[in-house]
C-alpha cells in the first residue's frame, strides 16, 4: 500500500478537522470577521465603563440618575445581567453581529459548490451528505467565535469591574450559535440550490424577518386576547354584582324608579358582555392561527430571550418590573397597558424548552434535509 489510510472513524474525524481548520483560516482571511470583532471589542468596553450605584447608572466617574436603575431596586449582578442580555445579546449578538455574520457567511456555500472548487472536494473518500453537513457546521464557526470572544470578554470585564463573576452568561455562546444556525440553514439551502450569494442572504433575512413578524403578531394577538379576556372577566363579575343588586332590590320591595335604572344597567352590561365574548372568540381564533404559524417558524427571538430567562430569575424580573411600575413607567410597547405587557412577557418566559428548541430544530432538520438532498443529487 502506498499511503497509510486511517480507518473509517479516524478518517472521518480527520476530514472533519480539516474542514473546520479550513473554515477557521477562511475566517481569518475575511475582513468582515475582524470588523465584527473590533465592534464587539468596543461594545465590551462599554461594560468596563458602565456601573450602578444607589442613585443611578455610572459612566466612568459620572452618575446618570435613572429612576429604575439603581442599587436600591436591583443588585449590581442583576444590572449587569440585564445589560448583557439587552445590549450584549439583544442588540449586538442578536442583531448587528448576526447581520454581519449572515453577510459574511452567505457566500460560503455558493462558493463551496461553485465550479472549480467542488470537484476537488467531491473526488475524495467522503460521502456527499457528510461533506455538506461538515461544511455547514464549519460555517457556524464565524458566529461561535464571535459569541465566545465577546461573551468571555464581557464576563471577565464585568467580574473585574463589579466582583460579580457571571459565568452563566457563557450560555449565550451556544444559544447565539443555535439561533444563528436557524438562519444559516436557510442560507445554505438557497446557496446550494441557486449558487447565488445574494439569494442565500436575502432568503435568510426573509425567514428571519418573517419569523420576527409572526412572533410580534402572535404577541400582539395574545395581548389583545388577554386584554379582552380581562374585560370579559370584569364584565362578568360586574354583571353578577348587578344581578345580585337587582335581586336585592326586588326582594326588598324597592320602588320602581330604583329598580329600572339597575335593570337598564344590567341590560347594557349583558349586551357589552356578549360583544366582548364575540370579540374574545375572534381573538382566540386568530391567536390559534398565529401560534401555529409561530410554531412552524424557527424561534429566533425566543432562543435569544432564553439568555435573559436563565440569567435573570423570575423574582428579579418581577422586582424590576414592579420598580418600573412604581416609578411611573408608562411604556407598554405594542400592548394596551402594562399589565397586559407583563402578562405576555410572563407567558413567553414560561414557554417550554421543547417548544422553543424542538420546533426550531425540526425546522432546521427539514431545511438541512432538503439542502442535503439537493447537494446529493446535483451534478457539478
Amino acid at each position: 500500500m502506498s499511503t497509510r489510510t486511517p480507518p473509517g472513524f479516524q478518517l472521518a474525524l480527520a476530514q472533519t478537522g480539516a474542514v473546520f481548520l479550513d473554515a477557521y483560516r477562511e475566517l481569518h482571511a475575511r475582513k468582515m470577521f475582524w470588523i465584527a470583532l473590533g465592534i464587539a471589542g468596543l461594545i465590551v468596553s462599554v461594560f468596563a465603563v458602565l456601573g450602578i450605584n444607589e442613585r443611578g447608572v455610572t459612566l466612568l466617574w459620572f452618575t446618570l440618575e435613572i429612576p429604575f436603575f439603581n442599587t436600591q431596586l436591583m443588585s449590581k449582578a442583576t444590572f449587569y445581567k440585564v445589560l448583557f442580555a439587552s445590549v450584549g445579546v439583544g442588540l449586538w449578538l442578536g442583531w448587528a453581529s448576526t447581520i454581519l455574520a449572515l453577510v459574511s457567511t452567505a457566500s460560503l456555500i455558493p462558493d463551496f459548490v461553485s465550479s472549480g472548487q467542488i470537484e476537488s472536494m467531491l473526488a475524495r473518500p467522503i460521502g456527499r451528505v457528510r461533506l455538506f453537513l461538515t461544511k455547514y457546521l464549519a460555517g457556524l464557526l464565524f458566529v461561535f467565535t464571535q459569541a465566545l470572544l465577546f461573551t468571555l470578554a464581557a464576563v471577565l470585564l464585568i467580574g473585574i469591574r463589579s466582583g460579580e463573576w457571571l459565568w452563566p452568561l457563557l450560555l449565550a455562546v451556544p444559544l447565539v450559535t443555535l439561533f444563528f444556525s436557524y438562519l444559516f440553514c436557510v442560507s445554505a439551502l438557497v446557496g446550494v440550490w441557486t449558487r447565488s450569494t445574494l439569494a442565500a442572504l436575502l432568503a435568510a433575512l426573509a425567514v428571519w424577518g418573517a419569523g420576527l413578524a409572526v412572533t410580534v403578531t402572535d404577541n400582539i394577538v395574545l395581548g389583545q386576547r388577554l386584554s379582552v379576556q380581562r374585560q370579559v372577566s370584569f364584565l362578568t363579575k360586574d354583571l353578577e354584582a348587578t344581578r345580585l343588586q337587582l335581586t336585592g332590590l326586588e326582594q326588598g320591595g324597592a320602588e320602581r324608579e330604583k329598580i329600572e335604572p339597575v335593570q337598564e344597567g344590567l341590560g347594557r352590561r349583558e349586551l357589552e358582555l356578549a360583544k366582548r365574548n364575540e370579540s374574545l372568540e375572534t381573538w382566540q381564533f386568530w391567536g390559534r392561527l398565529t401560534f401555529v404559524t409561530r410554531t412552524i417558524f424557527p424561534k429566533t427571538a425566543e432562543t435569544k430571550a432564553l439568555i435573559e430567562r436563565w440569567a435573570v430569575s423570575d423574582d428579579e424580573m418581577a422586582r424590576l418590573m414592579d420598580a418600573q411600575d412604581n416609578a411611573g413607567q408608562q411604556n407598554s410597547g405594542p400592548f394596551a397597558d402594562r399589565p397586559t405587557m407583563r402578562q405576555v412577557e410572563k407567558i413567553n418566559r414560561e414557554r417550554s424548552l421543547l417548544w422553543i428548541f424542538g420546533t426550531s430544530l425540526l425546522f432546521q432538520a427539514m431545511v438541512l434535509g432538503a439542502a442535503c438532498y439537493v447537494f446529493s443529487r446535483r451534478d457539478f
Partner: protein, 415 residues
C-alpha cells in the same frame, strides 16, 4: 520541476502485470488485459443533463495499470463528464464497471485515485503547503505521510520558491502545478488529469511529461483529457476520441495515425534541363503520375503516387512526391525512375499523419453521420478494441518513432 528519477515519492502500483514481469509496457498496443490488470474498466456509461442533453451515450473505457491514456474530443464531447462520473462528481444515469477493482461510485476507492479538475480553484487564502495538506487529509493520508510528502511534492512541481505564498498570488501555471501536487498527495494508483498543462509554460509542460512517464513506469494508470493533441502524442500509450458522447476511435498512437502512411521523396530536377518551379513540377508529373505514365511505378505497384500540391520540401527548389506505402520496396521504383531521368534525390522519408489529422478525420466522419469506428458496448473478451486500420506496418513505425530513430511522429507535413 525537479528530476524524479531517484525519488521514492511514488510507490509501485500494487497490481502485478498479467505476465507477471512487472516490466513497463512496450509502445506496441497490447489489447488483451487480465481483469485484475485493469485500473479502470467501465462500460455502458450514459449521462443526460436536464433530461435532454445527452453527454454520454454508452461509453466504455478500459485503462490498464502502467498506461497513459488520452481522451480526445471537441468541447462538449463528454470527456470531462466521463472523468467526473469516475470521480463521483457527476451521477451517471447508467454505468457499469470497476475502478481499482471496486464498483464505480465507491467512495473509499477515491483514496487511491488522484484527480486534477479542469479550471480548478483552490482556496486563495491558503498557501501551497496548506492546500496540499488539506486535500491530503481529505483523501485519507495520515499526518506523518503528509509531513513527509508535502515538501517533496512542492519541490517536485517546482513551487519550492513560493511555498509560503498565498494561492491568490500564484500565476495560472503555478496553480496548475499546485493542482498536480494535490492530485499526487495520496500516491494514487489512478491519476485523472483534466487539461493538466493548461496555462503551463513549455518548460513546465516538459516537466509534467517527464513526471507522467515516471508515474507510468511505476505502474500508475493515468488518464489525460486535453485539447493539446501534441502533448498527448508525446506521452500517451493509447487514446480514445470522443464525439457527441460516443467513443469513435481508440487505440495506440500508432494505430490512431495509421490511416494515411506514406513515403515522401524530394528531388531536384536535372541540372542540364534547367527546370524550376512549375516547369519542374510538370516534368515530374509527366515522369511519374499514373494518368500520364502507362505502366509506370504507380501502376506496377498498385500504389497511389502523387505530387504534393503544397510542395513544402525541405530542400530549396525540390519537388515532393508522395508514395502511399510504408514498405521500402515500394518506393524504390520511384527513386529509380527519377534517378534514371536525371533527377537528384535530396531526401526520402516516411511520413504519417499527426494525432490532429486522426482527430479531425474522426470528427469529420462523425459529423458526416458515419457510425463510430469501434463498437460502443464493451465485450466480455477482455479485448480493448483497436483501431480498425491498425497493422503490422503501423507497429513498426511506432516502434521506430518511440525509439527516437526517426522523425515520424513529429514532422509536420500533412496531406
Amino acid at each position: 520541476m525537479t528530476d524524479t528519477g531517484s525519488s521514492n515519492l511514488f510507490a509501485d502500483s500494487t497490481g502485478d502485470r498479467a505476465d507477471g514481469t512487472g516490466s513497463p509496457r512496450s509502445t506496441v498496443a497490447r489489447p488483451i488485459y487480465a481483469a485484475r490488470d485493469l485500473a479502470i474498466d467501465v462500460a455502458d456509461v450514459h449521462k443526460t443533463y436536464r433530461g435532454k442533453i445527452k453527454a454520454l451515450r454508452g461509453v466504455h473505457l478500459r485503462v490498464p495499470r502502467g498506461e497513459i491514456f488520452g481522451l480526445l474530443g471537441p468541447n462538449g464531447a463528454g470527456k470531462s463528464t466521463l472523468v467526473k462520473v469516475l470521480m463521483t462528481v457527476i451521477n451517471a444515469d447508467r454505468a457499469s464497471g470497476h475502478m481499482l477493482g471496486q464498483p464505480i461510485g465507491d467512495k473509499p476507492t477515491l483514496a487511491r485515485v488522484g484527480y486534477l479538475p479542469e479550471h480548478h480553484r483552490f482556496p486563495d487564502y491558503l498557501t501551497a503547503e496548506q492546500v496540499i495538506h488539506f486535500f491530503g487529509t481529505m483523501s485519507g493520508v495520515d499526518r506523518i505521510t503528509r509531513r513527509r510528502r508535502v515538501p517533496e511534492l512542492i519541490e517536485l512541481v517546482g513551487l519550492a520558491g513560493a511555498r509560503g505564498k498565498k494561492v491568490r498570488q500564484y500565476s495560472k501555471g503555478m496553480r496548475q502545478r499546485l493542482g498536480l501536487a494535490q492530485a499526487l498527495i495520496n500516491d494514487p494508483e489512478v491519476l485523472l488529469l483534466d487539461e493538466p498543462t493548461d496555462g503551463v509554460d513549455p518548460e513546465g509542460r516538459r516537466d509534467i511529461r517527464t513526471l507522467l512517464l515516471e508515474l507510468r513506469a511505476r505502474q500508475k494508470a493515468i488518464v489525460i483529457n486535453t485539447h493539446i493533441l501534441a502533448e498527448l502524442e508525446l506521452v500517451c500509450d493509447r487514446a480514445a476520441i470522443i464525439y457527441d458522447g460516443q467513443l469513435h476511435d481508440e487505440g495506440t498512437m500508432a494505430q490512431l495515425t495509421s490511416f494515411d502512411l506514406s513515403y515522401l521523396v524530394e528531388a531536384l530536377p536535372p541540372l542540364a534541363a534547367g527546370l524550376s518551379g512549375p516547369a519542374a513540377e510538370v516534368a515530374l508529373d509527366a515522369l511519374l503520375l499514373p494518368q500520364t505514365v502507362a505502366g509506370g511505378p504507380s501502376e506496377q505497384m498498385g500504389k497511389a503516387i502523387a505530387r504534393r500540391a503544397d510542395s513544402a520540401a525541405s530542400t530549396p527548389g525540390a519537388t515532393q512526391v508522395r508514395v502511399s506505402s510504408t514498405a521500402p520496396d515500394d518506393v524504390q521504383p520511384v527513386i529509380d525512375r527519377l534517378r534514371h531521368a536525371g533527377w537528384r534525390i535530396t531526401r526520402v522519408h516516411c511520413q504519417r499523419p499527426t494525432l490532429e489529422d486522426a482527430f479531425m478525420r474522426v470528427i469529420d466522419r462523425a459529423k458526416g453521420g458515419e457510425p463510430p469506428m469501434i463498437q460502443q458496448a464493451g465485450g466480455d473478451s477482455g479485448v480493448v478494441s483497436p483501431s480498425v486500420e491498425a497493422g503490422a506496418a503501423d507497429a513498426r513505425l511506432a516502434d521506430s518513432a518511440h525509439a527516437g530513430t526517426g522523425t515520424l511522429p513529429t514532422i509536420g507535413g500533412t496531406q
